[in-house]
């Protein structure tokens, strides 16, 4: 999972798990489990992150504006998620790597030593896009915050090892509630194509590459309201962690929506941390959408698209193995695959049948709500679901 700092990458995964587990249409088919060792990450689970986000629906009052100031992660987090069919044993294990936004920058020391090996190992790349910055900010600000140029360089390092070694890049515009609500989601997609044009063109030129655009609304009842310069409350000249709006008279709104009168020893100053590669980044503020509550949109599509991709990739590999199964080594390889599938208890045919069924019923969306398969590789077309 790639993208700028605090764009909401972790919430993509949290949204996926929440909707796969709770959506009436899908929870009868899937059981989604998180077996991540959270002891490694100070016990801060993905569910906790999601709950903190959705709790704003209860804590915020209509008519107020608020913002979140998540710390972001300092290190790569590996989430172990398993997807199981509700009526079959065996789990499909998927490892998600949540990468700090800064690591995407090729100028950083972490890029060469940590990011490059990871990029060459992964099959699916989820690029989180902070939609309010994409739609409302100047190109330089959006470029810095969403790390577009860095992604153009980073993703050139995807290694396709052969014809059947499919890779998939999903551009996922997040926090899309405002544009979905007023039917302007096509404008978001247009902007994605414009601002990520170089990246999309480069990726489409790759062999065995799938590229899709998949806008989602992770909460539903919270929409973007306005950008404000990043200000922070100071006490005796030292910066506290409290973000606020610029002063109107002597009054400010702090992140949790409360209004405060600024008086000594407090003062307000520009947030010196609100800079990415020398570009000053404003804060995006949000409001509740009255009467909507928790109503995520298309979060489950990320998981369904990944699942379909993994099944197609496995099928292609199996087809290749069957073709090459002549001779002693082919026999050994075939036997190994059968053994590994048995060992993991995965019934790929059952997964395949379910994915085909969901696709037929239109539950896996390839269009509508701005969803678009931007580039389909030839290998993908060879597989019939």
């Amino acid at each position: 999972m790639l993208g700028g700092r605090r764009v909401g990458k972790s919430t993509i995964l949290a949204g996926v798990m929440e909707t796969l587990g709770n959506s009436a249409a899908l929870s009868s088919h899937f059981i989604c489990e998180d077996s991540t060792d959270y002891k490694a990450y100070s016990n801060f689970s993905i569910k906790k992150k999601y709950r903190a986000l959705t709790s704003m629906l209860d804590t915020q009052k209509p008519g107020t504006i608020f913002m979140t100031r998540g710390m972001g992660d300092s290190k790569i987090q590996k989430y172990n998620i398993s997807i199981r069919l509700s009526d079959k044993p065996g789990r499909l294990m998927v490892d998600f790597y949540d990468v700090p936004g800064e690591f995407t920058n090729p100028q950083k020391v972490e890029f060469q030593s940590e990011m490059l090996p990871l990029i060459s190992d992964c099959d699916v790349f989820i690029v989180g896009i902070d939609t309010p910055y994409l739609m409302e900010c100047a190109e330089s600000v959006n470029n810095a915050h969403n790390r577009i140029t860095d992604l153009e360089v980073s993703l050139q390092n995807i290694i396709v090892k052969g014809k059947t070694d499919l890779k998939m890049v999903m551009l996922v515009p997040l926090k899309c509630e405002k544009w979905l609500e007023c039917g302007d989601i096509d404008k978001v997609i247009e902007k994605v194509k414009e601002r990520y044009g170089v990246l999309l063109k480069t990726l489409s030129a790759y062999p065995s590459m799938m590229v899709s655009i998949l806008p989602i609304a992770t909460v539903g009842g919270i929409r973007y309201k306005q950008m404000y310069p990043a200000m922070i409350v100071k006490r005796d000249g030292i910066y506290t962690g409290y973000s606020c709006t610029p002063e109107v008279g002597s009054e400010v709104v702090v992140g949790d929506g409360g209004r405060y009168k600024i008086q000594s020893p407090y003062s307000v100053g520009y947030d010196p941390e609100a800079k990415v590669d020398g570009v000053t980044i404003p804060n995006s503020w949000y409001e509740l959408i009255p009467g909507v509550g928790y109503a995520p949109k298309n979060c489950e599509q990320t998981a369904l698209h990944i699942l379909r991709f993994l099944i197609v990739k496995t099928m292609l590999k199996q087809q290749e193995n069957e073709k090459a199964s002549d001779g002693f080594f082919g026999y050994i390889r075939g036997a190994m695959n059968i053994f590994l599938n048995w060992w993991n208890g995965i019934d790929y045919d059952a997964f395949k049948n379910l994915v085909a069924e969901l696709q037929k019923e239109g539950k896996i969306k390839d269009s509508g709500d701005g969803i678009e398969l931007y580039h389909i590789c030839n290998e993908w077309k060879e597989v019939e679901l």
């Binding site: 700092r5 060792d37 002891k39 490694a40 990450y41 100070s42 016990n43 801060f44 906790k48 992150k49 903190a52 979140t68 100031r69 998540g70 710390m71 972001g72 992660d73 300092s74 290190k75 790569i76 987090q77 044993p89 065996g90 700090p100 936004g101 800064e102 690591f103 090729p106 100028q107 950083k108 020391v109 972490e110 890029f111 060469q112 030593s113 940590e114 000249g237 030292i238 910066y239 506290t240 962690g241 992140g255 949790d256 010196p272 941390e273 609100a274 800079k275 990415v276 060992w343 208890g345």
Partner: protein, 225 residues
């Protein structure tokens, strides 16, 4: 000569070299002597504390993921990490003493180290207080009166405190920068995040028995399915 680095969030998490009166950012073009093993330690969770030498001959003392006072809306703390490194063998005894001192009072060191950072217009680090801490370790002989501490300080085995459920998960990613055999000989201690302390009786063995147990468990699961 010992060099001190820290990872701290100032416009995103960055690695800095901490010198007297100067906080310099480490970049890909200007690594400021940061060893490769240091980058790896700064980039991953799993290891809370490690004191050992890497395959390139750097002696390393690393403390990971120390909570700072500042918290976000989710109640999550900003964190910082520290790395002390040296190529000079003469520095090893002192580093070892510092390591023992920190390892046995990790929570105290965490709040001390994180309090040394402040943001005014730029990021500042209180190097005077940090130097005073170093000096106190040099002259404080009382720490060696404790038998366990003195043994660990004198021996050369790595000291490792891990946060993962088992030591293997934490150690495996390190094998490309640290010698596997050496790490396995280390004092392995488990960190308990709830009590913010080292767990008693947490020294864990890695070997064939846990592996055999794992295989038996797997077969039992498949059989049940």
């Amino acid at each position: 000569m010992m060099t001190v680095y820290a990872q701290y969030s100032f416009g995103g998490y960055k690695i800095f070299r901490l010198a007297e009166n100067a906080v310099e950012e480490v970049t890909g073009l200007n690594r400021l002597g940061l060893p490769q093993s240091g980058i790896q330690l700064f980039s991953h969770y799993g290891i809370k504390f490690i004191c050992t030498s890497d395959i390139d001959g750097n002696y390393i003392l690393f403390v990971n993921d120390m909570p700072c006072k500042e918290k976000d809306d989710m109640g999550r703390s900003k964190t910082c990490s520290m790395l002390i490194t040296s190529k000079d063998k003469a520095d090893v005894p002192l580093m070892r003493r510092i390591a023992v001192m920190i390892a046995f009072e990790l929570d105290v060191f965490e709040s001390f180290f994180s309090s040394l950072f402040s943001i005014k217009e730029t990021l500042a680090f209180n190097s005077t207080d940090f130097k005073a801490f170093f000096d106190s370790v040099c002259i404080d002989a009382s720490m060696l009166s404790d038998r366990l501490r003195s043994t660990i300080a004198i021996k050369s085995n790595p000291i490792i405190i891990y946060t993962t459920s088992d030591a293997k998960t934490a150690l495996e990613p390190l094998y490309n920068r640290f010698e596997k055999k050496n790490l396995r000989k280390g004092f392995l201690l488990k960190w308990d995040e709830n009590t913010r302390n080292i767990k008693d009786n947490s020294i864990e063995r890695i070997g064939f028995m846990p592996l055999i147990k794992k295989i038996i468990n797997k077969i039992v699961t498949i059989w049940k399915n």
